[in-house]
C-alpha cells in the first residue's frame, strides 16, 4: 500500500474499512470500532487479570495495573483536589482508553482510532458536557459569573462576555484538535519515511545503502511516537482535570 505506483500515499492509512466481513459491512462496523473494542477489552483484561491475585507484593501485571491506577488517581487528586476523587473513574477510563488507542495504533497493521477528529471530538464533548453540568449543578446561577470576572468595569461587558464564551467553547475544540493532530502527524511521518525506505531501496545497487538513512529516522520516530502516544493521553487527562478543577472551584 505504501509505494503503489511510486507515490507517497500517507493518508490512506486513515481510511475506514468494514471489519468482521459481511456482518460488519451491513452494520457499518469499521476497523476503528474493532480497535476501540480491542482497547476496551485489553483494559478490562489488564485490570481483571492484573488485580485478581491482589497480592501484597505485586507481580508484573498487577504492578502495571496499580501503576496506571495510582498515576491517574494522583493526577485527579493533585489537580482537582481531594473532593475531585469522585471524578476518578471518569478520568481513569478516559486516560486508559486514549492511551491504549494511541499505543495500539503503533502496532503494525493496527488502526489508530484516536487519529479521527470524530472520535477525539466526541471524547472532548463528553468532557465538555460533564464540566458544564458539574459547574451548573454545583454553583447554579453563579456559573454565569464565570464569563464576567469580578471587578471588571461594566462597560467592558459587551466585549468580555462574548470573548469569554468563545474561549470557553473553544475548550473541546482545542482538546480534540491537539490529540488528533499529534496522532495524524506522527503516523503520516512514519508512513512517509517508510515509503522512502521502499522507494530508495529499489534504486539499483546503491539504493539499499541510502535506504538505511530513512530507516534510521523511522526507528527514532517510532520511539518518539511511543512518547507522544503516552504524552497526549496524559495531556488529555490533565486538561480534563484542570477543567474539572475550574468547574468545581469556579474561578
Amino acid at each position: 500500500m505504501a509505494a503503489e505506483g511510486k507515490t507517497i500515499d500517507a493518508l490512506s492509512q486513515f481510511e475506514l474499512a468494514p471489519a468482521l466481513g459481511p456482518i460488519g459491512a451491513s452494520v457499518n462496523f469499521t476497523q476503528s470500532n474493532l480497535f476501540m473494542l480491542i482497547a476496551a477489552g485489553l483494559i478490562l483484561a489488564l485490570m481483571h487479570y492484573g488485580m485478581r491475585p491482589a497480592a501484597v507484593v505485586p507481580g508484573r501485571l498487577q504492578a502495571l495495573a496499580e501503576t496506571f491506577h495510582e498515576f491517574a488517581r494522583n493526577l485527579v487528586v493533585e489537580q482537582v483536589g481531594p473532593e475531585g476523587r469522585r471524578f476518578f473513574p471518569f478520568v481513569f477510563t478516559l486516560f486508559m482508553f486514549i492511551l491504549f488507542g494511541n499505543m495500539l495504533g503503533l502496532l503494525p497493521f493496527a488502526f489508530t482510532f484516536t487519529s479521527h477528529i470524530a472520535v477525539t471530538f466526541t471524547l472532548a464533548m463528553i468532557v465538555f458536557v460533564l464540566i458544564t453540568v458539574v459547574a451548573v449543578s454545583l454553583h447554579g446561577k453563579k456559573f454565569l459569573g464565570y464569563f464576567f470576572p469580578e471587578g471588571a468595569p461594566i462597560w467592558l461587558a459587551p466585549i468580555i462576555i462574548p470573548v469569554e464564551i468563545v474561549s470557553y467553547l473553544s475548550r473541546p475544540v482545542s482538546l480534540s484538535i491537539r490529540l488528533f493532530a499529534n496522532m495524524v502527524a506522527g503516523h503520516v511521518m512514519l508512513k512517509v519515511f517508510a515509503t522512502f525506505v521502499v522507494l530508495l531501496g529499489g534504486l539499483g545497487a546503491v539504493g539499499p545503502f541510502i535506504a538505511v538513512l530513512p530507516l534510521a529516522v523511522n526507528v527514532a520516530l517510532v520511539g518518539f511516537e511511543v512518547l507522544v502516544a503516552f504524552l497526549q493521553a496524559y495531556v488529555f487527562a490533565i486538561l480534563t482535570c484542570i477543567y474539572l478543577h475550574d468547574a468545581v472551584h469556579l474561578h
Binding site: P149, E150, V163, S167, S170, S174, A181
Partner: protein
C-alpha cells in the same frame, strides 16, 4: 566504592570538554519550546474556529452575511489570545476558595500541594 570517588567530577569535566552538556541541554529545551508553541497555536486556532463558526451560523440565520462573521472573527481572535494568556497565567479570583488559591500554579501540571496530604 572507592572507584567512584571523583567519578562525577571527572565525568562532568569530560562532558564539558566534549561539549556534550550544551548539546543535551539544547535538546532538552527544544521539545519543550516546540510543545508550548504547538499548544499556543492549537489554542488560537480552536478559538478562531469557534468564533468563525458562531459568526457564520448567526449570519446564515439572520441573513447578514459578512458582518457578524467579521465581528465573531475578531472575538475569536481575542479569545485565542486570552487562551494563550491563560496558558501561562491561570486565572485566580479574589472570591476563590482558600485552598484553590494555594493550588493555582502553572496550568500545565506543575500545580502541587492542595490535596496531596489527603493520600492514604
Amino acid at each position: 566504592m572507592d572507584t567512584r570517588d571523583g567519578f562525577d567530577e571527572r565525568l562532568r569535566k569530560a562532558r564539558e570538554r566534549q561539549g556534550l552538556d550544551r548539546g543535551t541541554s539544547r535538546q532538552g529545551a527544544l521539545p519543550g519550546a516546540a510543545a508550548i508553541g504547538f499548544r499556543a497555536g492549537v489554542e488560537v486556532v480552536s478559538a478562531l474556529i469557534v468564533g468563525v463558526g458562531i459568526g457564520w451560523l448567526l449570519d446564515r440565520w439572520l441573513g447578514t452575511f459578512p458582518w457578524l462573521f467579521l465581528v465573531f472573527f475578531l472575538i475569536g481572535g481575542a479569545a485565542g489570545v486570552l487562551n494563550v494568556y491563560r496558558l501561562f497565567n491561570p486565572r485566580t479570583r479574589p472570591g476563590a476558595p482558600p485552598d484553590a488559591g494555594a493550588e493555582a500554579g502553572s496550568k500545565d501540571g506543575s500545580r502541587t500541594g492542595g490535596g496531596r496530604g489527603q493520600d492514604d
